[in-house]
């Protein structure tokens, strides 16, 4: 297995506040890797930095062996890293269809884009029903489906999902996690951020536990799910 993404000793801050102190993670080709941890642990900051929305204070980010820290957000997308951000961030005044088109903004291969569109609409049939509805008028669950679909429309090599289950009804949470497994079966590597640690550890191959901007533990997801410290802190056991 080769490393698709490597983050080495990442440090990121907002002004004087340091949100990520020292984080090193590796995501291998074809894996589902999850970052779990409580609010403010630095999970979203890590993802935003990988996506080029934030600039690291120090550390390195390598994608397919090349440095990508310091690249602008739109350049990172071009390399094949797509993100479904925290809070969904869909374009509320545009239709579902327009949102999906924007996901494929950088692609010029029209046939492949049309095929991907069919593929994501098969993944989320609900979106097909709402294809010409304004995205802002949909329910939270539908918006989340759209955010994931939009990221998939960029034909990512690495798909990053920031809290895809946040604020959703339990039945939808199950559905989202099932879909995550399906997406991986299509050959897409996934980096998943979750507060719902139990569900995340269930679908992931490996996991990192973040606490106050550092990595507290890491290992196989199935091992971490059984670890007493993790169960106590994050699984409510």
């Amino acid at each position: 297995m080769s490393a698709l993404l490597e983050v080495k000793n990442l440090k990121v801050g907002y002004g004087k506040i340091v949100a990520v102190k020292d984080i090193s993670i590796t995501v291998n080709q074809g894996e589902i890797v999850t970052l779990i941890g409580s609010n403010g642990a630095g999970k979203s900051t890590t993802l935003r930095t990988i996506s080029g929305l934030l600039k690291p204070k120090s550390g390195e980010i390598l994608f397919e062996g090349n440095r990508i820290d310091g690249k602008e957000g739109h350049e990172v997308v071009k390399l094949g890293i797509c993100q479904s951000p925290e809070g969904r961030r869909i374009f509320p005044r545009m239709t579902v269809s327009e949102n999906l088109d924007l996901g494929a903004f950088l692609r010029s291969d029209k046939d492949a884009v049309a095929a991907d569109r069919e593929r994501v609409l098969d993944l989320f049939p609900r979106l097909r029903e709402r294809i010409s509805q304004r995205a802002g008028t949909m329910s939270g669950g539908e918006q989340q489906m759209l955010a994931v679909s939009r990221a998939l429309m960029g034909a990512p090599k690495l798909l990053m999902l920031d809290e895809p289950s946040m604020g959703l009804a339990p039945v939808l949470v199950d559905m989202i996690f099932e879909t995550i497994t399906k997406i991986r079966e299509q050959g897409i590597t996934i980096l998943l951020i979750e507060q719902n640690a139990a569900a995340a550890l269930d679908v992931a191959d490996r996991a990192y536990v973040l606490e106050s901007g550092t990595i507290k533990m890491s290992g196989k997801a199935s091992d971490l799910a059984k670890d007493p410290a993790v169960t106590k802190a994050y699984l409510g056991g």
């Binding site: 996506s51 080029g52 929305l53 602008e72 957000g73 739109h74 997308v77 071009k78 797509c82 993100q83 951000p85 961030r89 869909i90 374009f91 509320p92 005044r93 545009m94 327009e98 088109d101 924007l102 996901g103 903004f105 950088l106 939009r150 990221a151 960029g154």
Partner: protein, 353 residues
């Protein structure tokens, strides 16, 4: 259970009471104004129908000019939520540039073929000139302040407005300057209403420009990037949109329209002055607010309405007359801000956090 429902209902009602009251003020205010307008227009229409049509045509013509400028305000506001106070002054520079281009650099003073060709060349040159300046203004003055508190770029825009006015004084001199015009100055008479060649040329230039803008914003990839950036910059970045480039493109579009307006103004009025931007800029800004700032259709609608109201006020037998022209425009601004802050076609926006 029943009691609980009742309290919930009561709560709901108090929650919306403010809105209901606001709605009532809006509707009754709008109704009173509409009634007074209809009365005023009706009396004038009966008294002098031809004159009425005449001033409406003139008003529409001015309205088109305002629309070209108003779009620059609304485009920039739509994408970075900045009132670009320097925009009117950019229009003034466009008018000065056109004067120099046609009269001083290409020596055209008459309405003949050479003159018309120079006019067409001046149109493209002025659009390019103002578009470039607007891009530079954003690059040098506003970009660094994009994440600063909103007051900072606003004050910078006011400063930029002064800077451009001083360029105008240096270039034009501090007094109004008269220029020869090269567009034909004949007229058609249609049912007693004079439609001048100037009016026709203005429509022939402005209408395709407005149409192209709508096309660019709604149908092209660049337009899609603009709309996405306007709604959520970070999300746009995550789609692979180059946000800086998109904002530059927006400033280029707004600037180009201001350049076209500058040429049209200079050629239809024949006078330039360094403070043109202040006068017309404020009127165009009012138009953009009337239509709903951020809305392209709104800017055009607002500009046409302001143009017509101004035309009617200046030219009808029973009206306040030209010396009240500006006061009427700004009274409209105040009334919109009180009665319908989102404008005629604007969306109610919540403050972004």
């Amino acid at each position: 259970m029943g009691k609980l429902k009742a309290t919930v209902a009561a709560k709901k009602f108090t929650g919306t009471r403010g809105q209901v009251r606001r709605k009532r003020i809006e509707t009754s205010g709008a109704l009173i104004i509409a009634a007074l307008m209809v009365l005023w227009l009706g009396v004038n229409l009966i008294k002098a129908p031809t004159q009425f049509a005449q001033v409406t045509v003139l008003g529409l013509r001015n309205g088109l000019l305002y629309a070209l400028i108003a779009l620059g305000y609304t485009l920039v506001y739509g994408i970075i939520e900045l009132i670009n106070f320097a925009h009117g002054d950019l229009f003034m520079l466009g008018a000065l540039f056109s004067s120099y281009f046609i009269t001083i650099w290409f020596h055209q003073e008459n309405s003949n073929l050479a003159g018309w060709l120079t006019f067409v060349a001046a149109l493209f040159a002025a659009m390019l000139f103002c578009g470039t300046i607007n891009v530079l203004i954003e690059r040098l003055a506003y970009r660094k302040l994009r994440r600063a508190p909103k007051l900072a770029p606003l004050i910078t825009a006011v400063g930029m407005s002064f800077l451009l006015q001083f360029v105008g004084i240096k270039w034009n001199g501090s007094t109004p300057r008269q220029w020869p015009t090269v567009i034909p100055h004949g007229e058609y008479v249609w049912f007693g209403v004079i439609i001048s060649h100037v009016t026709i040329i203005l429509i022939l230039v402005a209408a395709p420009l407005l149409g192209s803008l709508t096309f660019v914003v709604n149908k092209t990839k660049q337009g899609k990037a603009m709309r996405a950036t306007a709604q959520d910059q970070d999300a746009a970045r995550l789609m692979g949109i180059d946000v800086n480039k998109t904002i530059s493109f927006t400033f280029a579009l707004g600037g180009a329209l201001a350049g076209a307006a500058g040429l049209l103004y200079q050629q239809s009025i024949g006078t330039t002055n360094y403070n043109l931007g202040f006068q017309l800029g404020l009127i165009a800004f009012t138009s953009a607010v009337l239509g709903g700032i951020g809305s392209l259709n709104g800017a055009v609608l607002g500009a046409l309405l302001i143009g017509i109201v101004q035309g009617l006020n200046d030219g009808l037998p029973i009206a306040l007359g030209q010396k009240w022209s500006q006061s009427v425009v700004f009274t409209i601004l105040i009334l919109i801000l009180v009665l319908k802050p989102a404008g005629l076609l604007g969306k109610v926006t919540t403050e972004k956090v």
